[in-house]
């Protein structure tokens, strides 16, 4: 069976201009990342800001070309597909429903846009828009409003309706609930989960909130400075994280349990800088367990008890 998404050694380099007299800096936002998502699965991707998770989302969506490596969607190379074919297969839901919806257009037209682009018009278009709005739990009358008249949760429902109106196979959610209040976040997570099961969708779910990722994903990948340092089934990853970075990340989750206090994450004061990647293991300057060889030797991913881990010490 072909995987819904297969990413092979994908790398994306950005050139950052540092001024007139100094040369450009190269930022390897995604650096040799490989993974696959099986059809109907949900892969959660977590990591701190600047780890490359959003760049990876853009590579999977085909919004950015890879510098090297390739992305296959349902067995086809993304680079060989035209925009229309890609849009029928894979769709995004972004973080901020305030900026991802055109403020001057009516909701009905926003959701109809992907259909319009595919040449589906008239009655067929109107019916599918209507059906989709109902499916995401919006009242029919909302079609005539503009985004400013909607709440944050309603706007995110509109963004989901727009993503699903072409009946894609894969949805890439980049921080879909980060801008929402907890009660609304729960509504949107429940909706996304229900839609995935009912429509047989495949998700890539990117979030900095580990509790959210744990709830919705069946597999989790942890990114650090452009690399995927650990991948495993959600339960295995949360029960027994192997990589020291995953352990620190999980330790920093503040669950609403009073009496546990604030954990000591033990990552020190050094913040990762994507433009200045340390040699050897890129996590070694912040790693509690780091040894001398960690600064010299770059780890390669290995299979350890069902986890794919990139650490010399595991």
């Amino acid at each position: 069976m072909t995987a819904a998404i297969e990413v092979r050694d994908a790398t994306r380099v950005f050139r950052q201009s540092t001024g007139v007299f100094s040369g450009d800096r190269l930022i390897r936002a995604v650096d040799g990342v490989s993974f696959s998502v099986e059809s109907g699965g949900c892969l959660g991707i977590v990591g701190e800001s600047g780890c490359g998770k959003s760049t990876l989302a853009r590579l999977i969506l085909g919004l950015l070309p890879t510098t090297s490596g390739e992305v296959l969607v349902e067995g086809q190379r993304l680079a060989d597909m035209d925009r229309k074919a890609r849009a029928r297969l894979i769709q995004p839901v972004f973080q901020d429903p305030f900026s991802s919806l055109n403020p001057r257009r009516r909701i009905r037209d926003i959701v109809a846009m992907p259909l319009q682009a595919q040449g589906i018009t008239g009655r067929a278009q109107a019916d599918r828009v209507e059906e989709m709005l109902v499916r995401v739990g919006l009242p029919g009358a909302i079609g005539d409003r503009v985004p400013a008249q909607l709440s944050g949760g309603q706007r995110q429902r509109v963004a989901i309706a727009r993503a699903l109106v072409l009946r894609p196979r894969i949805v890439v959610c980049d921080e879909p609930t980060s801008a929402l209040d907890v009660s609304v976040q729960a509504q949107i997570l429940n909706l996304l989960d229900e839609l995935r099961r009912d429509l047989g969708l495949t998700y890539v779910f990117i979030s900095h909130n580990l509790a959210v990722v744990e709830h919705i994903s069946d597999r989790v990948a942890v990114m650090y400075l452009g690399r995927m340092v650990e991948q495993a089934g959600t339960d295995a990853l949360f029960a027994a994280p192997k990589h020291p970075y995953t352990q620190a990340l999980l330790a920093s989750v503040l669950t609403p349990e009073p009496g546990l206090g604030v954990p000591d994450v033990g990552l020190g004061d050094l913040y990762p800088d994507p433009a200045n990647v340390p040699p050897g293991c890129r996590f070694h300057p912040r790693c509690k367990l780091a040894q001398a060889r960690c600064a010299l030797e770059a780890p390669v991913p290995r299979e350890v008890a069902g986890h794919r881990v990139e650490c010399l010490l595991v």
């Binding site: 209040d181 900095h208 503040l254 609403p256 009073p258 990552l267 004061d269």
Partner: protein
């Protein structure tokens, strides 16, 4: 007789225009050396309440209260200049986005020193020495280098540490922190919260912390007030609130939070149907009744304040 709380606010009301009241009769007390968290969703009035305490509301906003006392002194009737002397000195505030609260055109050092030179009779160099000392205290290595840098040269976590150090320049007794870790990564959030906790233990700071994150509340608060639609609907010690939430809104909110390992994947999270109502003039009864599964006819008329003992109170017909 127990010591009077450092901050004691009764019946705080804030309105922005003739029709809309953003804060409707809020009581808040912060004890010395303790953390009081105000938690709620966007638009509930939590930030406005904290700005009202600091006297930092936008022009045009009207503030009233039964009383508002800081260390026993009435601060409601203080003139702007008297309030300015207090602000940044005995009470200080930090905000969510350290990038927008720091001036991009001045170095960290000159911004930090200003806090001290404005409130105390000290020279620039003395103020800079104090700034360097505080940067070290908040866990910043090479303070000399940081003082000469501009805000854009620092990471988000470092900027928030600078904000905290700046707030501490005049040894405040009360620190008001509005979503201090919301813009930060979880790993950095934990570090900043530990820092606040350690500083509190060392300096006896009273902290009023505004947040939407129940995880933060559980881990750092002594006392919690849950706000909804401009009112405190429940307040209790952190232990009591999480163990036995009384108000349907608090119960609903706690059910919405995914907790790793606690809720089975595929099971829906709890959620609160509907949206926050717009509270216009003439509104009576409970602001939560349209979203509440237990709503009764009398909820549209009035809401009683219930005392559950041990400082636990909630605003509801249900006990």
């Amino acid at each position: 007789m127990p010591e009077a709380p450092l901050l004691d606010v009764r019946g705080l009301r804030v309105r922005f225009n003739a029709q809309v009241e953003a804060v409707r009769g809020v009581d808040l007390t912060v004890e010395r050396g303790q953390t009081h968290c105000v938690v709620g969703e966007s638009g509930c009035g939590k930030s406005v309440s904290s700005l009202a305490v600091m006297g930092l509301l936008a022009r045009g906003a009207k503030r009233s209260a039964a009383h508002m006392r800081f260390d026993g002194q009435d601060i409601l009737g203080l003139s702007d200049t008297a309030l300015q002397r207090l602000r940044g000195d005995r009470m200080a505030m930090i905000f969510q986005e350290p990038m927008t609260s720091l001036n991009p055109a001045y170095t960290i050092g000159s911004q930090m020193a200003e806090a001290l030179t404005r409130h105390r009779k000290v020279g620039k160099q003395q103020a800079l020495d104090r700034a360097a000392e505080l940067l070290t205290k908040v866990g910043i290595t090479a303070p000399g280098l940081r003082l000469a840098q501009y805000p854009h040269q620092l990471s988000g976590g470092l900027r928030q540490r600078v904000m905290i150090a700046m707030a501490l320049m005049c040894d405040p007794e009360l620190l008001i922190a509005d979503e201090p870790t919301t813009a930060l990564d979880v790993t950095v959030q934990a570090q900043i919260l530990r820092l606040l906790r350690d500083l509190q233990a060392e300096l006896g700071l009273a902290i009023l912390l505004i947040t939407h994150d129940l995880g933060v509340v559980a881990r750092i608060a002594h006392k919690v007030s849950v706000m909804y639609a401009g009112e405190v609907v429940e307040s209790a010690s952190a232990t009591d609130l999480f163990a036995a939430p009384r108000h349907p809104y608090t119960q609903g909110l706690l059910g919405c939070v995914p907790i790793p390992g606690k809720i089975k994947r595929g099971d829906p999270l709890g959620s609160i149907p509907g949206t926050v109502p717009r509270i216009a003039d003439g509104f009576t009864g409970c602001g939560f009744r349209d979203r509440c599964a237990h709503a009764m006819p009398q909820c549209a008329v009035s809401v009683p304040q219930r005392d559950d003992g041990a400082g636990h109170r909630h605003l509801c017909h249900l006990s």
